[in-house]
Symmetry: C2
Subunit: 243 residues, 2 copies
DNA sequence: GTTAGAATTTAGCCAAGACTAAATTTTGAA
DNA sequence: TTCAAAATTTAGTCTTGGCTAAATTCTAAC
């Protein structure tokens, strides 16, 4: 009765998650964008979109795009929850660096049982953010709003707290980690070079760095230093968990 | 060049593992036994056996049975290593009880990357046994010999150390845990009832229990109290890890 | 308003891995 | 030794989820 989505395949879960994320970041989901995100052909995407529509998990406007239904979004959020819980668990429990957790979590997210999910969430103390600062949806499917301001938006002179790093590329993540630009770090925005030039920031250690504007746009910040929802400490620390 | 088995499907890995385990426990592997173990039809088993034979991972004697080649056994041992490392990790790191780890590990074993495998083995201190006492093959594919003596074989009066519990059924595992019959526990064999009757044993707490002969045959022991290869302590303890 | 090019869908194909039913081989009891 | 039952294999089918090529629809530049 309730297990209708116990029958969803890993491929379907991947599609739902991808549609959700495209919707969340770019507003709409076109067939081509979805195909690109999943690294498949557009024809394959159309095919699956029609299946998901039949299952009432998505709405398909032919030639226009896709949208998740409430049911589809619920499942997408479950997959996102799995993914981010696993990322945080691997980071906290095994000390796996933040640039490696995504690819591991992607493989594990579809085979995480409810039982194991609960054990992990419990172990981590019901965390609300993953190592990149992305919000972890609650068991009930509630997810925190996205930040509105990026490093590229902050006014020169502003003192901000890094909230979320949207970059996925491991090399860029390692670079940012190197600079100390990770969630909860404080940085000063020094200046924005003109003509879409780099953004200069000063990190806590006093060093100044110039970040590509495109990269800066993927780094989300909060102006105030009010203690926003943060990554909870795990029940017990296991290993020195550097990023 | 080396990644020829990066292309193996999860189904193939399951077959190789099942053939390996049937070979190890019962000596031979028939099509029907394999099909039963994997809960599929005999026709499906034949089909896959032929595929594995083409890949030189198994030898097929039509109507007689299957056997792994050296290459096939190597892969089977890798899968077994994954499975048992995951079982131990879930048990140690998350406190998941020993009767639940098998089903979780089965889902995770096929998506464990080399990187993650190494992190886990490192975290656990390169363990040699899983929570049931089953040996964990080394990275190189070396696996400890099986015990020769079960609780059903031990002479009355013998003082033995539990080495390995072969039962898989969660209910039975919970029962044995209840009695304190877990790897490394010491028990005295009191008597064997005639006509294949129960085996009476006394556990360390002084209580006496009667075990079904079939169950006793799945509990492997060592007579001497020499410290056999044991489950290594993890690098750091995380949670009280009860069975 | 046409119309070329981009985006999308349709049509048809393929491989994996399951199934059932039918054919074949092996085995063990009489 | 024979032969029926059990075990195994063969033949043919199905579903999933990819693919390419061709057809269709949308869109933006003229």
């Amino acid at each position: 009765m309730e297990n209708k989505h116990a029958t969803l395949t890993a491929a379907m879960e991947d599609y739902l998650k991808a549609i959700y994320e495209l919707q969340a970041t770019t507003g709409t989901t076109t067939t081509t964008a979805l195909a690109t995100a999943l690294n498949i052909s557009a024809a394959s995407a159309t095919n699956m979109i029609k299946k998901l529509a039949e299952l009432k998990l998505a709405r398909h406007s032919p030639y226009r795009g896709v949208e998740l239904t409430t049911a589809g979004e619920k499942i997408a959020l479950e997959v996102v929850r799995h993914h981010r819980l696993i990322e945080l668990f691997l980071h906290q429990a095994l000390g796996i660096p933040w640039d490696e957790v995504h690819v591991e979590a992607h493989k594990l997210e579809h085979v995480l049982s409810d039982n194991l999910e609960n054990h992990i969430a419990d172990f981590l103390g019901d965390p609300t953010k993953d190592p990149h600062g992305d919000p972890i949806p609650s068991k009930a499917g509630i997810i925190a709003d996205r930040e509105r301001e990026s490093l590229a938006d902050g006014a020169p002179g502003a003192r901000v707290t890094i909230q979320r790093v949207g970059a996925q590329d491991p090399a860029r993540l390692r670079y940012l980690r190197e600079l100390g630009i990770v969630p909860q770090a404080r940085v000063n925005i020094v200046a924005h070079a003109p003509f879409e030039g780099p953004v200069r920031v000063r990190t806590e250690d006093g060093a100044e760095h110039a970040l590509d504007r495109g990269l800066a746009r993927q780094i989300w910040v909060a102006e105030k230093s009010r203690p926003k929802t943060r990554v909870h400490a795990p029940r017990k620390m296991i290993k020195g968990s550097r990023q």
